[in-house]
Amino acid sequence: MTLVGAGTADWFDVEGTVPTPKKARRLKDGTVGLVVGLVMLILLLIMGLLVPLLSPYTIEQSIDMPFLPPSSTFWFGTDGLGRDVFLRVFDAVYLDLGVALLGVMIPFAIGTIVGIGLAVGRSKVLNAIVGSIIDGINAFPLLVLAIALIALLGPGLQSVVIALSLTNWARYARLARTRAMVVKQQGYIEAAQTLGYSKPRILFKHLVPNVSSETTAYALSDLILVILLIAGLSFLGLGAQPPTAEWGAMISDGRPTFQIAWWPVIFPGLALCWAGVSLSFIAEGLTRRERDVKS
């Protein structure tokens, strides 16, 4: 594994005789991280599927014994209402990840379309106005805009998704527009035009795939941010409402009694970190692999 990028500061090696390693069969940079991340994610998804299926309880069912510490029967203990924390934590997997995925995919689609439209479109006035609105939206912290929109829409996960769709698209639009401007100038677009391909064909077969490869890379790191954002909004009481099992809401629920019972807070928190870290490792692994191929 090359720790410091190849060719870095060779003057530091006074001996200067470090042989360049042969291009032997070796794992690409970042493969380990990618695999670890994927395994972590798959484990979480499997647990999210199995635990609610196999558990004898339901997420709202109380066993009348609040604040039982973690034990062999209740691995993660019980919360203030006597509900099984283990079940609730894993029941939330698909809700948290699903809402986040939605909160990334809708802005991704809107943003890519708007961005490419701006780069391809001819109307200067429209371009200037939409471009300025994009800058205006992007200037706000995402969390602040989402909070403000939820003020109008009312709290709930549905509002969170709508708020994200109305705001986060601007980031994708800016990225897609910049990228589409570059792609437009590329030789293969000109070649396609010379060959007399129709405009829709050039747009959908050449421009869109090349632009969306860039925005997809951003979407992965955005997914981490959005997962944290959704949990954060729920923590503030603006996202998932009780008794829904959602990590942020569970942490918020357990917060007043954190001193006497840490488990209703820490376990959902760990699940949230686990999800974030797995995606972070995947994103990191993918970027490093790509860079490794290029160099």
């Binding site: 602040v144 909070i147 829409l153 944290l228 928190g269 974030g276």
Partner: protein
């Protein structure tokens, strides 16, 4: 804010450095001027977005504030108070002129003008941001320098793994744990309260700022680390080594200063995320800042306050990014500002 005038110094330095061999080299002053102009335009659109948010989003603020079964007279009265009874263009004009007269409307609940609320609450948020930025730099710079220069095998790998983890940690969870450990178990941090005077407020701010660093340090130290590695590749560093430039001068002028610019640009880019996370931290640490005010206003459906505060947040981010870009272009004249 006064924009610095272009100095001939900077221009000649740029020409001599040979880096400005683009189509038309820009002086640092010129770049800063252009960037400031752009920030003003963006600030205008921030105002427009804050204005439109209340009017164009799905859901009617008046029925949302009063509930569905309010009497028509009450609805009409509130519509009038909010200035929603005239056409949108007039509304925008009233809002726009009001802004320049320092009028952001008044709270629907308490009747206190929004500007009055800002006067007491905004400094708290600004102090928190300032403390966070200072702490982030104080932690990130030595950390990245050490990892880039120490050349301990395996260390960069550990560092990269740890930053990938740090990136994905929810700040509110970190805040809860640290507040519990530092505030309740060790008793070295107050768990609530605030003192608005300078040295005394640090006692309340250091822990929230430290938590906020969890968001920033992984990203910043990573970028600074790879930026230092890039700088070490530059010929001027080699020249410095050959000429025998030593210790402080070498580290600051040859290695750190040219590496800092991308970090500062990134810091200004991260301001949005950071300012956003102060909202949550203000709530957990019970700091009377504008973020906490915003969430209270949202739960009370107090629209003028919501609109006023998000406007301030937007302008704040625009201003902080501008500041970051200016600092970056002073640190390294090669930086291109968009």
């Amino acid at each position: 804010m006064t924009a610095p005038t272009p100095t001939t110094d900077a221009e000649s330095a740029l020409k001599e450095s040979g880096h400005g061999d683009g189509p038309r080299p820009q002086s640092t002053g010129e770049k800063i001027l252009r960037r400031t102009g752009r920030a003003i335009i963006v600030a205008f659109w921030v105002m427009v977005v804050a204005f439109m948010l209340i009017r164009l989003s799905p859901g009617d603020p008046v029925t949302a504030a009063l509930g569905g079964d309010a009497a028509p007279e009450t609805v009409e009265a509130l519509r009038k108070t909010l200035g929603l009874d005239v056409d949108p263009l007039t509304q925008f004009w009233q809002y726009f002129t009001g802004l320049f007269q320092g009028d952001l409307g008044a709270s629907l609940i308490s009747g206190i003008p929004v500007t009055e609320m800002l006067r007491t609450n905004l400094p708290v948020t600004l102090w928190l941001i300032l403390t966070t930025v200072v702490m982030t730099l104080v932690i990130s710079i030595p950390l990245a320098m050490f990892i880039a220069l120490a050349r301990i095998p395996g260390l960069p790998y550990v560092f990269r793994t740890l930053t990938a983890i740090g990136l994905a940690l929810p700040s509110f969870l970190v805040a809860l744990i640290l507040l519990y450990q530092f505030g309740l178990v060790w008793g070295i941090a107050p768990i609530f309260g605030y003192d608005p005077t300078f040295p005394a407020n640090m006692q309340y701010l250091w822990l929230p700022a430290l938590v906020n660093c969890v968001v920033l340090v992984p990203v910043l130290s990573r970028v600074l680390y790879s930026s230092i590695l890039d700088t070490l590749d530059e010929e001027f560093v080699e020249t410095g080594v050959i000429r025998g430039v030593r210790s402080f001068r070498f580290f600051w002028f040859y290695v750190l200063r040219p590496s800092l610019a991308p970090t500062v640009v990134l810091l200004s880019y991260m301001m949005g995320v950071m300012v956003g996370s102060t909202v949550i931290l203000e709530i957990i640490f019970a700091l009377p800042g504008i973020g906490r005010e915003l969430v209270t206003a949202v739960t009370m459906r107090d629209y003028p306050v919501v609109q006023g505060i998000i406007l301030v947040f937007g302008i704040l981010v625009v201003f902080l990014s501008l500041l970051g870009d200016i600092v970056a272009s002073i640190l390294d004249p090669r930086v291109k500002l968009t």
